[in-house]
């Protein structure tokens, strides 16, 4: 009995140990490589944000704040009742019910207050981020992309050239700072290709499906659709973006002082290069900067958005607000509509506070109006254009 029990016990213990360590070792080898990427991709808050963004937007909160009318606005059909927000449905004299906003029983100077509340941030303190955005963005986007695709072309580190960038002529700068300016040019050269992909699909859902197609070819019908092509052009820009990012890294390693100069040089070079090619609007700091793994956004992709906003952004050159450049953040839902509550002023430069308020309101209106008209963004690249930071810069339209 005892020996039997002992043998059985040893056997069981051995089995258990084998299961434990053997399984541990084997499982250890297999699991990580696959799971790592999956986990980091899937579990992030981005998905939560995604789903949140996809959910119906919470509809303007501001509307409700001011008056009861806004709340009622949603009720379309009911004609008679909604008139008086007050408590009782009296048949009494309607005219007497003066709404609370009414003021001044006599003629008084009508100097109005210009809604101060919306303004949250002062213009100057916000500058740094705007200027700094380029360099940090380059950094953030650099690591992931470099690791994935740029491995083959790592060597050239022309960081010092960036300093040469400030050469006067716009064209010269990009050439010298090859690593930085180049990425922009080729991107635009590729724009036509992207444009073709944009025009092709009428059905956005199919396009969406096709993006998944590259990794998981589940879609069977309609093999003719061409969105495959973007995959090809998509890579080169990333290489270039990565190239542009490289100089930033080496600089880091070297002297940190050089950074700001080059970043501003990059900024200037990019701005010059882009504005030279596209009068209405440009993509700042490289396109498809986000760290999403989808195909990057090209100039052609954003052309629709920019041209729509160009048509809805009303500028009054004689107004002090024309001296103000505002930077506005906003988020789009997958159907390309603006989520009004996400429109936020990031910074404002120039003019006084009132002018900045007006400039922001005009930009906000342009976005909301443009959203109604449609931005025509490629659904397949939603991850790339979901969050947008738009600089409304009326410099070129000021009175000269």
């Amino acid at each position: 009995m005892r020996t039997g029990t002992i043998i059985s016990g040893i056997g069981h213990v051995g089995l258990i140990l084998w299961l434990l360590f053997g399984g541990y070792l084997t499982a250890h080898n297999d699991a990580p490589p696959i799971q790592v990427s999956d986990v980091s991709l899937i579990t992030n808050k981005q998905f939560a944000q995604l789903t949140a963004a996809a959910a119906p937007p919470p509809a303007r909160p501001q509307t409700k704040v001011k008056s009861p009318e806004a709340a009622k606005e949603t009720k379309p059909a009911k004609a008679p009742k909604p008139d008086t927000p007050a408590v009782s449905p009296k048949p009494a004299p309607k005219p007497k019910q003066e709404p609370k906003p009414d003021k001044l029983p006599q003629i008084t100077s009508a100097e109005p207050r210009v809604q101060p509340p919306k303004f949250l941030k002062a213009p100057t303190p916000e500058k740094p981020p705007a200027a700094a955005t380029l360099s940090p963005d380059v950094h953030t986007s650099a690591p992931p992309k470099a690791s994935q695709r740029v491995a083959p072309t790592p060597a050239p580190a022309p960081a010092p050239d960036a300093a040469v960038a400030p050469v006067p002529t716009p064209e010269a700068a990009p050439e010298k700072t090859a690593t930085q300016a180049k990425p922009q040019k080729p991107k635009q050269a590729q724009a036509p290709k992207e444009a073709s992909t944009q025009i092709v699909p009428e059905a956005s859902k199919q396009a969406k499906a096709l993006t998944g197609q590259s990794t998981a070819p589940k879609v069977s019908p309609r093999p003719e659709l061409r969105p495959e092509t973007p995959a090809a052009p998509a890579q080169p820009p990333k290489e270039k973006v990565a190239k542009a990012e490289k100089p930033a890294k080496p600089e880091k390693a070297k002297p940190q002082k050089a950074k700001p100069d080059t970043s501003s040089a990059v900024d200037a070079a990019l701005a010059a290069a882009m504005s030279a090619t596209n009068g209405a609007g440009v993509t700042e700091g490289g396109q498809g900067k986000s760290t999403h793994l989808g195909p990057p956004v090209s100039a052609a992709d954003t052309e629709g958005l920019l041209s729509t906003l160009k048509s809805t952004w009303i500028i009054d050159p004689g107004s002090p607000s024309a001296d103000v450049t505002v930077t506005v953040d906003f988020q789009l839902s997958p159907d390309g509509k603006v989520i009004p509550s996400t429109i936020k002023l990031v910074s404002a430069e120039g003019g006084n506070q009132t002018a900045q308020q007006i400039a922001y309101r005009k930009a906000r209106t342009a976005i909301l109006h443009g959203s109604d008209l449609g931005f025509n963004l490629p659904p397949a690249k939603y991850q790339e254009w979901r969050d947008i930071q738009m600089v409304f810069d009326p410099k070129g339209m000021r009175l000269q």
């Binding site: 541990y24 509307t63 003021k103 003629i107 600089v391």
Partner: protein, 444 residues
């Protein structure tokens, strides 16, 4: 199996923990875009007829709505959407706004209002809505006054709307004093006249027996300073607009005075005084009558005007050989020439904003109204014609009025206005000929 799952869990957790530091890097950076061009076009607005509160108010309500529309559309910055395009009808001032309906017709602003008349008193109330933001733009406002002042109330509503949308103060409830001209050129009758900024409510301040020139409003809008030939020679007079009483300011025999202008505080005035063939600038304290000589040059110094802060004076002088514009301190001395373009520069007027100086320019037989910065830079010509001269600024510094005259012996001068951007050039309706306008402040 029982053991393996927890282990896998632990592993997964560990891996997740390892992955955490990298998580922020995976967060999306916004797509950065820059828009450098927009459109320069009037902002479309909807102005449903103000609701009349009772039959007595029907006509006034219509008139008030019309004046508001004229004011706003007349700026060139707003475009009224015809009521035939409206989807929503506003029949109740307190009714909720269906923003979608107004959005659908591309109205960016919606103005609703109501008018009531009780006991000879008219009450106007209005609300302004930002259609695309789906919210009221400021609070509702109400004005009340005698029925015959309904135009002023309409102007006040328009001023409030303008101000809320543009962030600048309005200029609709303001008046212009000018020289009304009638009769043939050889025997022209010139009278001081005053009117609303839009040409309405004209009244005459002098009877035309003596020639009057260069009327200028005081900063408070209560007085007018001008040049009259009552004595046979030009001299500066000041008139109280409430009583129409006038008095001569200078009292130096053997001199001529002209081109007067109030200081920003209204306590003093600056003008040109000609003595023995030489013209210089002087200032006078309007209470004490004490004068101060500001320039001392053998040339002609004239057309002075203060900067809005009262610290400097801009004027024209031919000390360089031809008329040019100079700036000096209000106390005199240290004049600096600021105009250097071809041709002659005259009648400089400082913008109420302080950022620009408007002037008359004559070059190669044509006249221009232009603006430049106080340092002389960024000169822009806004108009050009056979004869444009004598600019005056709207109280908000946004619009310029001036005199335009066509060639011909029977032509009459007319007052025109132009936006500081050079757009929206148009005549101001006046009764007969009109020249030398001076735009007064916003009324209180």
């Amino acid at each position: 199996m029982m053991f393996k799952r927890p282990l896998a869990l632990i592993l997964a957790l560990a891996l997740a923990g390892l992955a955490l530091p990298g998580a922020p890097a995976a967060q999306a950076a916004p797509l950065k875009l820059r828009l450098t061009q927009g459109v320069i076009e009037p902002l479309p607005y909807a102005l449903p007829a103000f609701i009349a509160d009772g039959a007595a108010a029907t006509q006034v309500a219509q008139q008030i709505t019309g004046v508001i529309a004229d004011d706003l559309t007349g700026t060139g910055l707003f475009r009224q959407i015809p009521s035939s395009a409206f989807i929503s009808k506003v029949t109740n001032f307190d009714a909720p706004v269906r923003y979608a309906d107004w959005k659908a017709i591309n109205a960016q602003a919606l103005i609703t209002g109501a008018v009531s008349v009780q006991g000879g008193k008219v009450v106007v109330k209005f609300r302004l809505f930002d259609v695309f933001n789906g919210a009221p733009l400021g609070e509702g406002l109400q004005f009340a006054g005698p029925v015959d002042t309904w135009r002023r109330m309409a102007h006040k509503v328009a001023d409030a709307v303008y101000s809320r949308i543009t962030g600048e103060s309005g200029y609709f409830d303001s008046r212009v004093v000018y020289v009304a001209e009638s009769g043939p050129k050889t025997n022209r009758v010139r009278r001081l006249a005053i009117m609303d900024y839009d040409g309405a409510n004209t009244s005459y301040l002098t009877d035309g027996r003596s020639i009057v020139l260069a009327p200028r409003f005081s900063p408070d809008g209560q007085r007018v300073i001008f040049v009259s030939y009552q004595s046979g020679f030009p001299h500066v007079y000041m008139m109280d607009l409430a009583t129409l009483q006038e008095r001569r300011l200078d009292n130096q025999p053997g001199t001529m005075t002209f081109a007067p202008r109030f200081s920003p505080d209204g306590r003093s005035a600056v003008y040109s005084l000609e003595r023995d063939g030489n013209t210089d600038l002087y200032s006078i304290n309007l209470s004490s009558g004490q004068t101060q000589r500001l320039t001392q040059a053998p040339s002609i110094e004239t057309a002075p005007d203060y900067s809005p802060d009262g610290s400097r004076i801009v004027f024209e002088s031919d000390r360089s050989g031809q008329q040019q514009i100079y700036v000096m301190s209000a106390g005199g001395g240290g004049a600096t020439r600021i105009s250097f373009g071809p041709g002659k520069y005259a009648t400089p007027v400082w913008s109420p904003r302080g950022d620009l100086i408007a002037f008359t320019k004559q070059d190669q037989g044509r006249f221009y109204i232009g603006v430049m910065k106080p340092d002389g830079s960024d000169e822009r010509l806004l108009t050009a014609s056979f004869l444009d001269e004598g600019p005056t600024w709207a109280p908000n510094g946004r619009v310029i009025m001036f005199t335009r005259e066509a060639p011909g012996s029977d032509s009459m001068p007319q007052i025109y206005s132009v936006d500081v951007s050079g757009r929206n050039l148009k005549p101001v309706p006046t009764q007969g000929g009109a020249s030398d306008p001076s735009w007064g402040p916003l009324r209180k």
